[in-house]
């Protein structure tokens, strides 16, 4: 089980390393505009093949690249209803504060839980390797966070129920 996670993250890391070849490219249609081409998808010659990497039926990663921007969308494993709600709330919390993360997208792509948008400006300011390390570390940590949240919800529920039912003894 752990080895598939390691292989999955290695595959994503290698693909990102190859795909993160971004350069500045002003908009072809509108003068003096500079837009992330992966979001607009207006010119097919500026886009590379999108890649879907699935670990299993529940977890997958979509990587779309263009000449000046790269979009990574993740679908996180959600085993039951509680994890579903926790994941949605937690990732929404992060997405709302996307300004602080810089590379996070405010809304996830349709069909996925969270999305990152990396542009050539990010690659100029920050190191490419460190960006890739951040994404992979994020993927590792998200599973741990959701498990911790689930455990704390269950613990609190159990404590509250015990205290409440004590009065009936």
């Amino acid at each position: 089980m752990g080895s598939t996670l390691r292989l999955y993250l290695t595959c994503i890391r290698n693909t990102l390393h190859a795909a993160m070849c971004l350069q500045n490219f002003p908009c072809q249609e509108v003068e003096r505009h500079n837009k992330p081409e992966v979001e607009l998808k207006s010119s097919p010659e500026l886009l590379l093949n999108p890649v879907v990497i699935c670990r299993n039926e529940a977890e997958k990663c979509l990587i779309e690249t263009s000449i000046n921007s790269l979009r990574i969308s993740l679908k996180v494993k959600q085993a039951d209803e509680l994890e579903n709600i926790l994941t949605k709330k937690f990732l929404r919390f992060l997405s709302m504060r996307a300004e602080a993360f810089q590379v996070l997208r405010r809304k996830p792509v349709q069909g996925y839980d969270i999305s990152f948008l990396i542009t050539n400006y990010h690659c100029e300011e920050m190191q490419k390797q460190k960006l890739i390390d951040f994404i992979v570390q994020f993927m590792e940590d998200i599973d741990k966070e959701i498990s911790e949240l689930k455990m704390s919800v269950n613990t609190r529920g159990r404590l509250v129920a015990t205290e409440f039912l004590k009065q009936f003894i």
């Binding site: 292989l7 290698n14 699935c54």
Partner: protein, 135 residues
């Protein structure tokens, strides 16, 4: 450039499908003799012909999938595979990874790691940039 016809003649596609069926029988017989590397080479050959027809692509993919799932020793397989097959193998690995089927994804992830070590990141980039010859 040969092979870049826009219109796919129906008889041409049928000929390709027949060829793929022959190939599949050959692959099955090679796999029975535990010759997994030859089976994979047979599956990967000639996959560029008629790449615009969806049925041909699916038929090619089924043959390659059969060969990939039969591989047990990834290192041995990669050392005996010619480098000219690395790019096309990478394309089929990514097709396998997009299916979402657990055993296929496990196998493809295993091969992907070793193939990237051998072929380098250029192999991945050639797959990403090749929008014409997709599998």
């Amino acid at each position: 450039m040969a092979g870049s016809e826009g219109f796919v003649g129906a008889d041409n596609a049928e000929a390709i499908i027949t060829r793929i069926e022959h190939k599949t029988r050959k692959i099955e017989s090679l796999l029975k003799q535990y010759k997994t590397v030859e089976a994979l080479k047979t599956a990967l050959e000639g996959t560029y012909a008629m790449t615009s027809d969806e049925r041909c692509k699916s038929a090619h993919w089924i043959a390659v999938h059969r060969a990939i799932m039969a591989i047990k020793d990834v290192d041995g397989m990669l050392s005996s595979l010619d480098p000219e097959y690395y790019d096309i193998l990478m394309k089929y690995l990514y097709r396998g990874l997009s299916t979402g089927d657990r055993p296929t994804c496990d196998q493809c992830l295993r091969i992907h790691e070793k193939l990237t070590e051998r072929a380098g990141h250029g192999c991945i980039l050639r797959f990403l940039t090749d929008t014409v010859n997709t599998v």
